[in-house]
Amino acid sequence: MSDIKKIKDDYIDKLNTENNVDKVNNIKSELFGKNGIISNEFKKLGSISVEERKKLASDLNNVKDELQNKISIKIKEIETKEINLKLEKEKIDVTLPERDIKIGKIHPVSQVIDEISSIFSEIGFSVEEGPDVENEYNNFTALNTPDNHPARDMHDTFYLDNNKELLLRTHTSPVQVRTMLKGKPPFKIIAPGRTYRSDSDQTHAPMFHQVEGLHIDKNINMGHLKGCLNYFIKEFFEVDKIKMRFRPSHFPFTEPSAEVDIGYEIKNGKIVIGEGDKWLEILGCGMVHPNVLKNVKVNPSKYQGYAFGIGIDRLGMLKYGINDLRAFFETDYRWLSHFGFDPLDVPSNYRGLSR
């Protein structure tokens, strides 16, 4: 017995000072290998008396457990040490720059078009489009603006031929004409797109964007027009209350016609929409003129409804504090990065119109 104890104590001491996994493993085989010390002790058991064997076997087993336990603890201990040491060496400076991030952006006009489409989608409008090049009939005549009518002077038109037959559309209203000619009432559409007028200064660009709206059904009246625009403006500017004013005006293709102003004030050099006592004109609208309905083969005694036209660029400027219209179209990298939107920022109802 004392032999065994001595062996145990010796090896425990040995293991305590050992720092190398291989050497610990050597000790392990020294003890428990085929001819290991402990293994040999077990072999001796066969040659002693039963009584002694019982006692010795039990002692031997205890020593075996203790040593094995010690060995596995030791190995774990050394391994942990080694890993810690390795990790220490592998430390990098994580404040070094990451690989290049290229951040793309969506142009404010596109973003605003998506915002507008999202809002009108909520109240059942679908999106229609029309070509940028139009004929004179769709752009003017069908819209109750005959040739030699002074209202044509309100539109400085780009022409593509000397007969003034083909032109760049001066507004999105020809989409009304196309939509109604190819379908049957009811109609409930918006039509965003590029529009063109041949003037250019700080507040006018030769190309700009409009969104047309059209809702024709059996009993659509001016109250619906007011309700629809009131809803849109509130949603678009993301305010609870909006000060809005309908002012009589004149467009050849609507009657009665109105221009819509919204209230605003300047606070700390920034424009605040929906409050204050200043008025800002933002759109034109009205009840579709019976002459227009007749031109597109819709019976004005059965159907009626409203139409509106909104300047998209203008809305974007107001909402996002952009001062210069011309900058929209000048492709300045700095401007695009500054005013552009993240491509994942898709305006939607459930996620919110804007972040």
């Binding site: 290229k102 070509p131 030699n148 001016m222």
Partner: protein, 802 residues
Amino acid sequence: MKFTVDWLKNHLDTKFNNNQIIDKLTNIGLEVESFESSTSELDTFIVAKIINAKTHPNADRLKLCDVDIGSDKTIEVVCGAPNAKNGLLTVYAPPGSIIPKNQMKLSVSKIRGVTSYGMLCSESELLLSNESDGIIELKNNKYANKVGEKYFKNTSEKVIDLSITPNRPDCLGVRGIARDLSAAGAGTLKINKKSNLKYRGNQNINVTIKKEKAQGCTIFGSCLIKGVTNKESPKWLKDKILSLGQKPISAIVDITNYVMFDLNRPLHAYDADKIDNEVIVRSSSKGESFEALDNKKYILENDMCVISDRTGVLGLGGIIGGTRSGTEYSTKNILLESAYFLPRSIRKTSKQLNIDTDAKFRFERGIDPLSIEDGLIKASELIKQICGGEISNLDVKKIDNYKKTIINFDPFLFEKTTGFNVENKELIKILEKLGFDVSKKKKILKLVVPSWRPDITQSIDIVEEIVRIKGYEHINTSEPIKTRLKPTLNYYQKLFHFLQRSVASKGYLETVTWSFTDSKINQLFKENDEEIPIVNPISSDLNVLRNSIFPNLLFYLKKNLDRGFKDISLFEIGPAFKGKNPGDQLTVIGAVRAGKVSRLSWNDKERIVDTFDVKKDVIQSLCEAGIDKDDIVIDDKTPSYYHPGKSGGVYQNKNEKNALAYFGEIHPNIIKKLDIKTEGLVIFEICLDYIKDSKQKIKDSKSEYKFSDFQKSERDFAFIINKNFKSQELVNIIKSVDDKLIKSVRVFDVFEGENIPEGKKSIAVNVTIQSEEKTLNENDLENINKLIISSVESKSGAKIRS
């Protein structure tokens, strides 16, 4: 349309104050553009304070003064006044001011070698007194807080400027505006006083309106006024003319202008002695000419309405008079014209000759044809009053009679259109005040439209009149109707949306550029498309519709490179025009990428952007938009603006005619021509119209979910193959060996040169083989390997590398 409140009150009895009038005008559709005092020459004189007065370095008698004029910086003024001293408050005139005493315009000048910005004024220079010994000394207690403010109060009456819509010619005269206001409850329209003008003798210049097909005049009224003394207008009249923003000329001209703005009744005064015998109203013949009152000579086309005498053209009826018969101070006898010209004729002529006058502006919108006499009487009275003379009987020649417009109006249409109700009584009152004759026939109102309202022809016009006078604030705000008739976006609109955001998410900044471009740049990109010139471009470098998005995109890329940016990714989604007819356009994405990847990276090697960067961007974007990558086929035929060897086309499947996308390097010649300075430039384009609508929603097109759990094996092969052999072909050959077992083929190495024969290249591919039915044993795999090698060798002429 400009006028003063005083002028308005000549026609309107009102208790409204100015602000109430302004609000009312806007609320009934007469939009107020501005309400302010007309500018005066005295506005420039401001209160100033001398901060420091020191002696002029080159002249003992002059002083050099630092003057505070209420702005951030003081300014330096040279002054000869003995009383100029520190702290003195006085009046300062900046350069550009006109000095009342001598009407001289001040400019910045050097006085004895020192620059003087403006001057300090004496009382005599401002015509305040004869005091000229020194500059004005202002009292401290009154002016100390007013430095920088105007010295003279602007006492001229405030002018209302209305923007009148083209349907309202009647409101191009003050009386019409007063009538609208009275209908809206802002006062009572004054009744015109009966004239007690005495006429003597007949208008003895014979007037003929020729009956011609193109005749643009239907009524010509006139009278002679003999023995006048033309002169400067009296102050009240001058003030009226000035308030319109016009210059007084002479009493006679000013009176005709005054009546035009007062009653919306244009008139013309001829010097009767300069008319050769008679007046003939007729259509012009091509080549006739005359000198107009704007001192320009006009050469006429056929069928323009002219007023002529036996010698020739006197003027263009309703547009502009001629110098030959113009009135002057020496004019003794006048022929006064009050006529009706057809709007179409006026508009056509003025467009052809490019003339814009106040008379033209009114006649083309439609003048009251029954106002001929009123205009003659009002102007004659004023001429007699101011210039004396005797007035002949009025002579009115007509070739057409005015026909009343009658509308049978059902008041129900009002509620049906506006959504609210107005009692019949109120409705009738509004219409009567606007000048309608109203009679009731059961439920229907028979309305005679006033002669000054050519815009009103049908019932909906009546609805507008009532609702605008009643006030748009009475219209209810109904809850939006949410009914949907069809989905918000169709397939291509969704595609637009997906691709736009997909490309942006690859690091591209979206831009929006003009739909037009410079023909010189466009021609590099137009391929076989026709050029589409704009007849009246905004400038010569935006003179054609763009056939491609790249002309503008590269133009702006260059601008940004010139700003010092090096690594730039830009794209635009929008129209490219293929012809000049409506609809000849495609929706296209154009994208450019310039510069380097990993520029100045501490851990990656930097490199120039290349074709495979944009190939990745274009393929990934297409996949994200819903196109199956396995269907995509690449070709090397591209438009001529691409580098012929380093560009490709993308097809949705093998047999498609149109490439839905192109990518690659831009042709070096174009970079040179456009003088673009960058290390690398690659582009891609996607044509949305060429992407096929699968017509299937995702819910219908998802195939059955199948996968295999049997062991998969990977094998590498390297082939020596002709240099021009396309890797896509090689991959297809391998896949076709057994498309059930061969799950993927990936090219992982390509090289030429060392150990590879001239004209050949080595391609290494990794092939994944997996069965859906069993685990393949060595034998199976060996068979497939052999098949792959033999197929490739026989179909491509390649040799396996050993």
